[in-house]
C-alpha cells in the first residue's frame, strides 16, 4: 500500500498546515515525504500538524523522516542522509529546555505507529493529540 499525502491549511490561533498521511510510511517513500515538507517550508508554512489517523504502518525510516521534518520546519539545512548532521546541534540547544518542539505536532496516531514512536523514544520530540480537531483547538 502506497503513501498518500493531503495538505490543508487551517486558520487556528496561528496558521496551521495539516498534512494527512494515508497508507504506509516505509523505506521506499520516506525521502519523498521529507521533500514534500521541504516544499511546504519553502512556501512559508511554519506550523505543521501531521494527521496520522490513516497511517497503518511506520518503519524506522519513517522515524528518520519525522526527525528530518522537525529540522526542516526549524529552518535547518536539509538533512543529508549520507552524513553531515552537525547542523542540528544549534536546534538541539535552542529547544533543549523544553525538548518537545511545537513546530511539528502529531495527531491521530494508531497503535502500531504509537508503539514505534515509544519504542524508540521519538515520542518525546512531539506533542501528540488524539485527533485533528483537538489538535487544532490546542495549537
Amino acid at each position: 500500500m502506497a503513501l498518500q499525502t493531503t495538505v490543508e491549511r487551517v486558520a487556528a490561533r496561528v496558521p496551521v498546515t495539516v498534512m494527512a498521511l494515508d497508507g504506509e510510511l516505509d523505506a521506499s517513500n520516506f525521502e519523498r515525504l521529507i521533500e514534500d515538507v521541504r516544499g511546504l517550508y519553502a512556501a512559508g508554512d511554519r506550523t505543521l500538524l501531521l494527521d496520522l489517523s490513516g497511517l497503518t504502518f511506520m518503519a524506522s525510516s519513517g522515524l528518520v523522516a519525522l526527525h528530518a521534518i522537525v529540522l526542516v520546519m526549524h529552518g535547518q539545512r536539509p538533512p543529508d542522509l549520507e552524513g553531515g548532521w552537525s547542523a542540528f546541534h544549534a536546534l538541539t540547544d535552542a529547544v533543549e529546555g523544553s525538548e518537545r518542539q511545537t513546530e511539528v505536532q502529531l495527531c491521530g496516531a494508531q497503535a502500531p505507529v504509537t508503539r514505534v514512536l515509544e519504542r524508540t523514544g521519538l515520542d518525546r520530540l512531539f506533542v501528540s493529540h488524539p485527533d485533528r480537531a483537538s489538535a487544532i483547538a490546542a495549537i
Binding site: 504506509e24 516505509d26 518503519a59 546541534h89 538541539t92 497503535a111 524508540t120 518525546r124
Partner: protein, 142 residues
C-alpha cells in the same frame, strides 16, 4: 518447506508486509502480534535491500510456519554475511534531537520479536530467523 522469493527492492516491501499479514492471518494472530511481525520483517527486509545487497538487488527468500504458538519467519539472502544481533542497542537516554537519525531498525526488531537468530547461509549469505509468540500483548507489557 517451501519458500517465496521476492526481489530485494524497496518497492517490494509493501508486498512483503502483506505477505506477513497473510501468515499472521492464517495463524489467527492477535493484532499486536501481527503488527510486531510486520514491523520486524519490514525492518529486516529493508536492511537486506539497503545494507546487505547495497541497493544493487538480489533475492530474499521468505519462509513461515507456526510452531508451538510461535510464528516463525525466516529470511534468507545471498548478501555478504552480517549478524544483526551483533549491533549494540542504541542509547535511548539521549534526547531525540541529539541523536543522529537512523539506527533504530534492529532495535525495533528486538522489541517486536521474542527471538532473532542469525546464521551464515552455507555457500554465502544470511539466514535470519524471527520468532514472535501469539501473545496478544506487546513485549513491554508482558
Amino acid at each position: 518447506m517451501s519458500a517465496i522469493s521476492v526481489d530485494a527492492d524497496l518497492d517490494r516491501l509493501a508486498d512483503i508486509r502483506a505477505l506477513v499479514r497473510g501468515v499472521a492471518l492464517s495463524s489467527d494472530a492477535p493484532p499486536a502480534c501481527l503488527d510486531d511481525l510486520v514491523q520486524a520483517v519490514d525492518e529486516a527486509a529493508t536492511n537486506i535491500v539497503v545494507h546487505g545487497y547495497a541497493r544493487r538487488g538480489g533475492a530474499i527468500d521468505i519462509e513461515a510456519r507456526l510452531v508451538d504458538e510461535q510464528i516463525v519467519i525466516v529470511l534468507s539472502d545471498t548478501a555478504p554475511s552480517f549478524d544483526p544481533t551483533s549491533v549494540p542497542e542504541p542509547d535511548l537516554s539521549v534526547p531525540p534531537l541529539r541523536r543522529r537519525p537512523g539506527g533504530m531498525g534492529i532495535h525495533l526488531i528486538r522489541l517486536a520479536t521474542d527471538s532473532m537468530v542469525h546464521r551464515a547461509r552455507p555457500g554465502g549469505g544470511n539466514i535470519l530467523t524471527l520468532t514472535r509468540s501469539l501473545d496478544p500483548r506487546p513485549k513491554e507489557e508482558r
